[in-house]
Symmetry: C2
Subunit: 262 residues, 2 copies
């Protein structure tokens, strides 16, 4: 790994890129994953590589909705595990929900590789100091996060082929799904099943962004960090009437403002 | 290769992506090339995947300047050869200039692989019907395009390591360089040598875009196509006083307009 100096103004972005390149070298990602990451880099650049105001609202709404759900689940793909796997584990520990590895281009090798990586990340989370403000046994909650995905026994209605497979215990039974970096077709199919779908997507014009119940237009690691911070600080926040189309328009305005200031 | 239906609204973009994935599988690209392509996809999306008015002006200016130059050269990297190698050959045939394969992450294997691919593309260009309006022997001109890059014997001042290497016959002696998808540092070094640098870059905020003499904010294949069309239609066009900063601002306005209409 090339060492990036601390002073580099885009250090975080370059570190994320390295994580994706290394994950690809380790066979954890589909061919298209690096291209998808590059698209994300470009959109993040246009947001100023920061969590915008409209994204902060969406993060708060997402945190409240996941906390209020009966059966939330966090669905992760390769890029999410590489960029924010530890944060996904902390979120799942807080929410008491499972994490499901669910890939659009599913292969048994990549699923098991990503589940192994999540187990390594769980050990790292357990080695960290306990967050303050958690009611209950934090380490026990981290240990109890169920990691799903190796034995799909359920199909998402309205989709065909491997991309329709999931587990009943996870996505199948969920009433609320946090699914970063999702494909548009699958997002639509999940919404059509009556599920609440919370998407993290840097492109406010993507089909996923438009289909989701709540869209967080932010980089996945920052979005998870923001949700964790809000859950710990405001554990009793309740969902609002959420106008997702209006929130997406706000994010377009924020990009346009960034462009006009450049 | 997966067959993309003709009716798909983003067919061209998906075909380009396939070309990049296949080139990567064949070892013709550095790790970061797919990520760079993804960034390009995102910016092109924001341009509406079309040549904007400001890009058309830049294309005309670039064509006039290359035609007026004493020693023009076309510097290509892996993504350019994969996406627009045949068009680069036609441009070079029209201008009577060499093409130099010049890589930021240079390896002898990738240089020779890309030179071989250009030779294959030359055969395809020779099999096509002759363009009308060319003064001279078109096929002879295509056959005469010199392909450089395998034996770098010159260094770009102000750069260190392999990225500084180039050929004297090509970039070293050139007064005008068409260099799509260039790195910011190298663009700056070439400008500092007093050369005219014409960049094709989908990100109007990139350092290359800001450093270049003329920046074409467009997808490389469309930009080359536009230059070819203008050279054949207006062979006597002359360079103007070109305000590149103003042209870049125009392209930002075009993106902002696209966003506000979405």
């Amino acid at each position: 790994m090339v060492k990036i100096p601390d002073s580099h103004p885009r250090k975080k972005s370059l570190l994320s890129r390295q994580m994706i390149v290394e994950g690809s070298d380790r066979g954890l990602l589909a061919d298209s994953a690096m291209i998808a990451h590059g698209r994300g880099e470009a959109f993040d650049y246009l947001l100023g590589e920061r969590t915008t105001e409209s994204a902060e609202s969406a993060i708060r709404e997402a945190a409240a909705r996941l906390r209020s759900a009966n059966n939330p689940v966090i669905s992760v793909n390769g890029n999410t595990v590489l960029l924010a796997g530890k944060k996904a584990l902390r979120l799942a520990a807080f929410l008491g929900c499972p994490i499901e590895v669910n890939l659009y281009y599913r292969t048994p090798e990549r699923i098991s590789g990503l589940l192994s990586l999540l187990e390594e990340q769980r050990i790292l989370v357990l080695e960290e100091s306990e967050p303050s403000g958690f009611e209950g046994d934090w380490r026990e909650s981290v240990r109890n996060v169920t990691l799903l995905g190796s034995s799909p026994d359920f199909r998402i209605e309205g989709l065909e082929g491997p991309r329709s497979h999931c587990t009943e215990e996870g996505i199948g039974n969920a009433d609320s799904i946090l699914v970063p970096l999702e494909d548009g077709d699958r997002c639509e199919a999940l919404v059509n099943l009556g599920k609440e779908v919370i998407v993290v997507d840097l492109n406010p014009l993507s089909r996923s962004a438009k289909m989701a119940t709540v869209t967080i237009v932010d980089e996945v690691s920052r979005a998870f960090e923001g949700m964790l911070a809000d859950l710990f600080a405001n554990p009793n926040r309740v969902p609002t009437e959420w106008d997702n189309a209006s929130a997406l328009r706000d994010s377009l305005v924020e990009i346009a403002e960034f462009l006009s200031e450049s």
